[in-house]
Symmetry: C2
Subunit: 213 residues, 2 copies
C-alpha cells in the first residue's frame, strides 16, 4: 500500500525529480533518523521558521512547545509545513554548478492539530522521551498536572508528505570528467560526545537513540 506518486500537487517535486520519493517507508526512516525539525508557520501573515524536535507515532508526526509560545499559538489549527533534513555529505564536482550536498529531507504539509486531552498529551510526551532515551521515563521525577497543562503537543498526519534524497558521487557531464581537479564526496554525520554528568554520575549515562545515519 505504498503510494509511489505524490499525494498532492504541492508535494510533487518539480526540480530534480529523480531525487523524489513518496513511499511511506522512506519518509518514516528519515523522520526517525533526525529529530531536529523546522516548522514553517505564519505570524501576522509572514512565514516564520521555528526549530524544534519532532517524533513519530505510526502515521503521525508530533512536536511540542510551551503552551504560551508564539509557535504554538500560530500553528494550532493552522496550515504548517514540517521539514526534517539530514545532511549526509558534501559533493565536490569538476564545475561549480555540479557541486552539491548529499542529504535526505522530508516535508509534511497540513493543518497542525493540538492534542487537547491531558492524559493523551502526557502519553505523547512519554513517547517522545522514550524514543530518544529508552527506559528513562520511569526513572524521572513524575510529570505534574501543571507541567502537562503548560505543554502543548501538536501533530500532523504523514499523508501530504514527500521526501527528497541526494546520494552518491558528483554527476559531472562526460565532457567535464577529465577536468584535473579532485572530485568526490566528503561524508558528514552527527556524533554524540562523551556524556558529562551534572554532579556525581548516578550510574552510566542513558543510551541515546534516533540520531542515526
Amino acid at each position: 500500500m505504498i503510494p509511489a506518486k505524490p499525494p498532492s500537487p504541492r508535494t510533487r517535486l518539480r526540480r530534480l525529480n529523480d531525487k523524489a520519493a513518496y513511499d511511506v517507508g522512506t519518509i518514516r526512516a528519515i523522520l526517525d533518523a533526525q529529530p531536529l525539525a523546522h516548522i514553517g508557520h505564519l505570524v501576522d501573515g509572514a512565514p516564520t521558521v521555528t526549530p524544534t524536535l519532532q517524533w513519530r507515532e505510526g502515521d503521525r508526526v508530533y512536536w511540542h512547545g510551551s503552551a504560551a509560545s508564539r509557535m504554538v499559538r500560530a500553528s494550532a489549527g493552522q496550515a504548517v509545513c514540517l521539514t526534517v533534513t539530514c545532511l549526509d555529505g558534501l559533493v565536490l564536482a569538476r564545475s561549480g554548478l555540479e557541486h552539491s550536498v548529499n542529504f535526505r529531507s522530508v516535508m509534511v504539509f497540513g493543518q497542525a492539530e493540538l492534542v487537547t486531552e491531558a492524559a493523551a498529551k502526557a502519553r505523547h510526551l512519554e513517547v517522545m522521551i522514550d524514543q530518544m532515551f529508552p527506559a528513562r521515563w520511569p526513572q524521572l521525577r513524575p510529570m505534574t498536572a501543571q507541567e502537562v497543562k503548560a505543554t502543548a503537543v501538536l501533530s500532523l498526519p504523514i499523508s501530504e508528505a514527500s521526501a527528497k534524497i541526494g546520494a552518491g558521487m558528483p554527476t559531472d557531464p562526460p565532457e567535464d570528467r577529465d577536468w584535473p581537479v579532485w572530485a568526490g564526496v566528503i561524508g558528514m554525520r552527527q556524533v554524540l560526545e562523551t556524556p558529562e554528568s551534572d554532579g556525581p554520575p548516578l550510574g552510566p549515562a542513558p543510551q541515546v537513540r534516533r540520531f542515526q545515519p
Copy 2:
C-alpha cells in the same frame, strides 16, 4: 555599534528570553558555523520550508537555487524567514519537562532580494564555493554564462534578525536536584568523514571550512 535589543517586534524573543541574543557578532558566528538553512516562504498562501545552504557576505546572507525552482519563484521579492540551527547537545534533566537540547539558532526576516546582474551573481557563487573550500574555485572548470543564467542567487540583509542559544547543564529546580537519576549533557557535533574520490584521486581532498563548532 552592536544592538543589544531586538530590531523589530517579531524578532523579540517572548519565551525563555534569557536565551535571546541580538548582537551582530553572535548572529554572524552562528551563520558562519552552519551552512544548512531552512527558508520559510509561501506557496499559494501556505507556509513552506525548503532546506538549502546559506553563506554570509558582510551584513547580508545569501542562498541560491535553480532559477526554475519553486522556492526561488516563491521567494524572490517576497517575505521570507531564513533559519539556521546548530544542534549542540542533549540535556537530560531529572524531570521530563526540563529535558532540552543545547543549540544555537538564528532567524533572519525580510524580503528576499534576487541578484539580477550576471557578473554580481557569478561573484557571489564564487564566494559561496570559496568560503567552503578555500582555493578550490580557480581549479574548477570555469562557469559558463548559461550556468550563471540558470542559477538564481537570493539575499537578505541581516538586520531584522535574532539569535537564540541554549547551553550548559540542566536547570532543574532545587527540589528536583536530588532525584536519583543520571542527569547531564550529551554533546553533539557534525563531523566530516574520510573523503572518497570519484575515480583516482588527483592529489589530496580539499580542505573544508564552515562546519565548525
